[in-house]
């Protein structure tokens, strides 16, 4: 009797590993996780801290090395080159062929490149993988000036990383304000100012035209679309990511930009599933994008799929949108949906304290006053309470009244509720009174799971 073929998971990022851990919590099915990038799971979001000297590599690994064996999660550090959905096998680059009972594709993303001249030169790279970090570290001592292209979350992180290691950083952003395709204008302007205050040369409305090569095949400068030449020994290309599915495209698994999945995360082929950055929802939920390449959705998909694979077929229901980031010293949290450019039905209320680099934007419905979402900069907010506000479709007035319950800043931080509510009352001619923080309210409606 041949032993049972395992569930094979391709990719050991957050989506793949969450799937594996949750399957193991619910069942004893053999699991094999294949990844070439690194033997052990690490937190991709922590790569920047290794380069900045906050952490060592081992700190990015959430589980000790003995964890995998103890939980019977087999690891294989190889590249998958082909998948045969009929035979239910995967082929590895070393030639071996492995059978699976179910296959989970969690292959993540690849940094975008747009065919710029010189984009494959030495000293030009993105920042996504462990290898990207190692390449950057190897070059680091020879970098004095760096250019980062692309005004997104990885771009600003790379700018911060290089700046922390004493490099002179020029930051090219296509838009006329940082990340203003995602956050409203006033939020975006605040971040612009903060980037500049750190000594970054921020170039808005500026595109890359070409990367110029030196005699050794390494980048020595870039030319912008304004025909300006900026000398640099490193070019960071951080113009978004795309699903890492090149080796899947020539299989019978249906793909578009990503691997197409239904709400059960099933691909077009039986017993093959996709989770995380590489999955593209055929029918995205209202207000949500088909591909959401963020940590949290990868984790939620993993948890959902694990239920399906252990006999409890479960649809992917990520709940209300939330996300977070950090722009140099400014922490960002968002709950619900705040449009970058609000439609007529959506009203934005913005408050900020420019000196302290803190601010919020609250979106609500013009006619019903329903609270739609909040962007918060430099103020920490309680996730669960906002989730509850959104579920209960509370009004913006209710949210403002309870701002003190929502605050998640460390103890003794100055409460800004009064300032915020006063401004709102003034702008919208309301008479909202801020309530005192109440433990009863904070925990009252939250069901405790043990």
């Amino acid at each position: 009797m041949v032993s049972q073929a395992p569930i094979i998971i391709i990719g050991n990022g957050i989506a793949g590993i969450t799937t594996a851990r949750h399957i193991r919590k619910r069942s004893d099915i053999p699991i094999l996780i294949i990844s070439k990038e690194s033997r052990y799971f690490f937190s991709r979001t922590a790569l920047m801290y290794v380069y900045m000297g906050h952490l060592k590599w081992e700190h990015t690994q959430p589980y000790e090395n003995h964890f995998w064996k103890k939980n019977r999660l087999d690891l294989c550090q190889e590249t998958v080159t082909n998948i045969d959905p009929q035979a239910k096998t995967v082929k590895l680059s070393n030639g071996s062929i492995l059978s699976y009972t179910s296959l989970v594709l969690a292959t993540g993303s690849l940094p975008n490149k747009f065919g710029w001249p010189g984009e494959n030169l030495k000293g030009v790279q993105g920042l996504y993988s462990k290898q990207d970090l190692e390449n950057l570290e190897a070059l680091s001592s020879s970098i004095k000036e760096a250019v980062v292209v692309g005004g997104g979350l990885i771009g600003i992180e790379l700018a911060e990383m290089l700046h922390a290691r004493g490099k002179k950083v020029t930051f090219l952003v296509r838009e006329d304000s940082f990340w203003n395709t995602v956050i409203p204008e006033s939020d975006s302007k605040m971040i612009n100012r903060h980037i500049i205050s750190h000594g970054i040369d921020l170039r808005l409305s500026t595109n890359l035209s070409e990367i110029i090569e030196d005699e050794n095949g390494r980048a020595k400068a870039i030319r912008t679309d304004k025909n300006e030449i900026i000398p640099c020994q490193f070019v960071g290309l951080t113009v978004g990511v795309r699903p890492n599915i090149d080796f899947i495209k020539h299989t019978s698994i249906a793909t578009n930009k990503g691997i197409l999945v239904n709400k059960y995360l099933e691909t077009s082929q039986t017993d093959i599933y996709a989770v995380g950055d590489c999955a593209e929802q055929q029918e995205p939920l209202p207000g949500r994008r088909p591909i959401e390449a963020v940590w949290y959705t990868g984790r939620m998909m993993g948890e959902t799929l694990a239920k399906t694979l252990t006999g409890k077929k479960t649809a992917y229901q990520p709940g209300h949108w939330f996300n977070s980031a950090k722009f140099f010293d400014i922490e960002y949290q968002t709950y619900g949906l705040v449009a970058a450019r609000p439609t007529k039905a959506e009203i934005h209320f913005h408050w900020e304290n420019a000196e302290k680099n803190i601010g919020i934007t609250i979106a609500f419905n013009k006619s019903t006053n329903e609270f739609l979402g909040i962007n918060s900069f430099g103020i920490r907010l309680r996730h669960e309470i906002f989730d509850q506000f959104l579920t209960e479709k509370r009004s913006v007035f209710h949210v403002l009244e309870h701002l003190n319950d929502c605050n998640f800043d460390p103890e003794f931080f100055t409460s800004l509720g009064v300032e915020i509510v006063t401004k709102f009352n003034h702008e919208f001619n309301t008479n909202i009174r801020l309530k005192k923080k109440s433990w009863t309210r904070i925990f009252n409606n939250l069901i405790t799971i043990k």
Binding site: H54, Y296, L446, I449, K450
Partner: protein, 518 residues
């Protein structure tokens, strides 16, 4: 700015070098009059010892403390040997040899150093303080705007167990070995703080006064560093101010002032069993013989441990003590802050921690039980074990070696809370209360954790904070001292130290986060 910092470092190192070199310098000459006074003071009855010192030590000039100390100790040991053999118990000198030698040396020091205490204070302490401030204060500019300042920590040899780290380790360990076991070699250090001691308590400085004063100076300077590093975080600033206040006022000034008014030396915030000799017979006798005030201390000490400590832990967690009041915690949170990430986070270390710290607590309780039994029954041994020898074993192993040499000396290698985590019996006691009956927890903010590992890395107690945070679970751990740094370094606003209803302490959110394991 960088030049100014280098200049500051130079001044600091000059002061430090001079301070160290004082060990080897100085003139020691014990006059006949001084020796006679000492014989009276100590009630020495050993004619052998007196004759030996008179022939080999008195009126002779010694350069450096070593030969002087050697002769005194040899005389003492030879005399004791003979007296013991002859069972002349009243002639035996019971003092620890190096402590005895310290008392002789303190009288014998002559010449430049005792004659220029102020100048030598300036050249050692003074230069050290000025230099380190010149090094620290420019950080306001060089570290950039307020925020988390952990850049390059793992590239720096002093904070990544490199050459500098090991050098600091050797220095600190040597310092503690000298302080605890060879005080007679550091008599010169005590001379330079004599004027300060005299102005507070009226007495000449002992090595313990020196240590207390140095402790306050180091904490003050490093607290300034904390104020700059964490200037974006009010919790850290208030906490630093609090530990500094309790060290300077409660651990240093009040006890010395009590001595001036002929009351027993007592640190009102130092709770048993950290204050392990509180119930030792010499302390009880001294308190009882000090009248009403002594009795007040006796009652206070008992109430502090049995009532105040657990009640405060119920409301605020053990942090109210460990990272807001305690002296050991105070040094760890100021001098030790640059080393906080070096604590071991493995499950193995956690297991060791639980055995060791509760073991020390059990040791302290058993020892105190023996002590009190002996005290009230008048016998000196139980089951053939001498209380005296249990006490000295504890004092040596736990009080000196663990708390001092390892606890602080190992900062640059094992992080800044080795003692608090593995050895402190009070922390173990507070931890039990915190774990089972307290409103304190570190709340995890829903699903916002990205598993980056900053919280676990910078946890000085070696708690794998991330393991909880990434599951959306609140953190309730007996060892947590509530320093708040996990919350400070979290890039996504996931962690908050708070005191709330006990019922919801280990609350888990009920919506899908991808991190709730059922």
């Amino acid at each position: 700015m960088k030049t100014l910092q280098k200049f500051g470092l130079g001044i600091f190192l000059t002061g430090l070098t001079l301070f160290c070199s004082l060990i080897f310098l100085g003139k020691y000459q014990l006059t006949h009059q001084e020796f006679d006074a000492l014989i009276d003071e100590k009630g020495i009855k050993s004619d052998l010892f007196i004759a030996n010192i008179n022939s080999k030590v008195t009126d002779k000039v010694f350069l450096g403390p070593f030969e002087f100390s050697k002769r005194v100790i040899t005389a003492l040991e030879e005399a004791n040997k003979v007296h013991r053999k002859k069972k002349e118990w009243n002639k035996v000198i019971w003092d620890k040899p190096h402590s005895f030698s310290y008392e002789v040396s303190k009288k014998a020091g002559k010449g430049m150093i005792p004659n220029n205490k102020g100048w030598f204070w300036f050249l050692t302490f003074g230069l050290g303080i000025i230099g380190s401030l010149l090094y620290i204060i420019p950080n306001l500019i060089t570290l950039g705007p307020p925020g988390i300042k952990n850049n390059n920590i793992y590239f720096d040899s002093s904070t990544n167990r490199g050459f500098m780290g090991w050098s600091v380790f050797i220095f600190l360990v040597s310092f503690y070995v000298l302080l605890y076991f060879f005080p007679d070699y550091i008599v010169n250090w005590t001379y330079i703080v004599d004027p300060i001691s005299q102005s507070i308590s009226g007495n000449l400085a002992s090595q313990w006064f020196l240590y207390g004063f140095l402790y306050c100076v180091v904490m003050t300077v490093m607290a300034i560093r904390m104020y700059i590093k964490y200037r974006n975080n009010k919790y850290q600033i208030l906490r630093t101010t609090s530990v500094l206040f309790f060290q300077i006022v409660f651990a240093f000034l009040i006890p010395e002032i009590l001595v001036r008014f002929e009351k027993p030396w007592y640190d009102f915030k130092n709770a048993f069993p950290l204050d392990y000799d509180f119930f030792f017979s010499w302390n009880l006798n001294s308190l009882i013989s000090s009248g009403g005030f002594g009795l007040f201390i006796l009652v206070w000490g008992i109430v502090l441990t049995l009532v105040i400590v657990p009640v405060m832990v119920y409301f605020f967690g053990k942090r109210w003590y460990c990272s807001w009041v305690c002296g050991c915690g105070g040094l760890a949170e100021t001098l030790g802050d640059p080393y906080r990430h070096l604590s071991n986070k493995s499950i193995g270390a956690w297991k060791l921690e639980r055995w060791l710290v509760h073991g020390v607590l059990a040791f302290a309780i058993v020892m105190t039980g023996f002590t009190l039994y002996t005290y009230f029954s008048g016998t000196s041994a139980i089951l053939g074990i001498k209380t005296q020898s249990i006490q000295s074993t504890y004092g040596f192993l736990i009080g000196s070696v663990f708390a001092g040499v390892i606890g602080t000396g190992f900062y640059p290698i094992f992080g800044n809370r080795v003692w608090c985590r593995f050895g402190c019996p009070l922390a173990a006691y507070l931890g039990l209360v915190q774990r089972f009956k307290s409103r304190f927890r570190i709340t995890t903010n829903g699903g916002q954790c990205i598993s980056c590992g900053n919280c676990s890395t910078y946890c000085e107690m070696g708690i794998d904070v991330r393991a909880y945070a990434q599951k959306g679970q609140n953190i309730v751990r007996s060892s947590c001292v509530g320093c708040g740094v996990c919350s400070a370094v979290c890039p996504r606003g996931v962690l908050k130290l708070e005191n709330g209803p006990v019922a919801n302490r280990t609350h888990l959110p009920n919506f899908p986060l991808g991190n709730t394991l059922d």
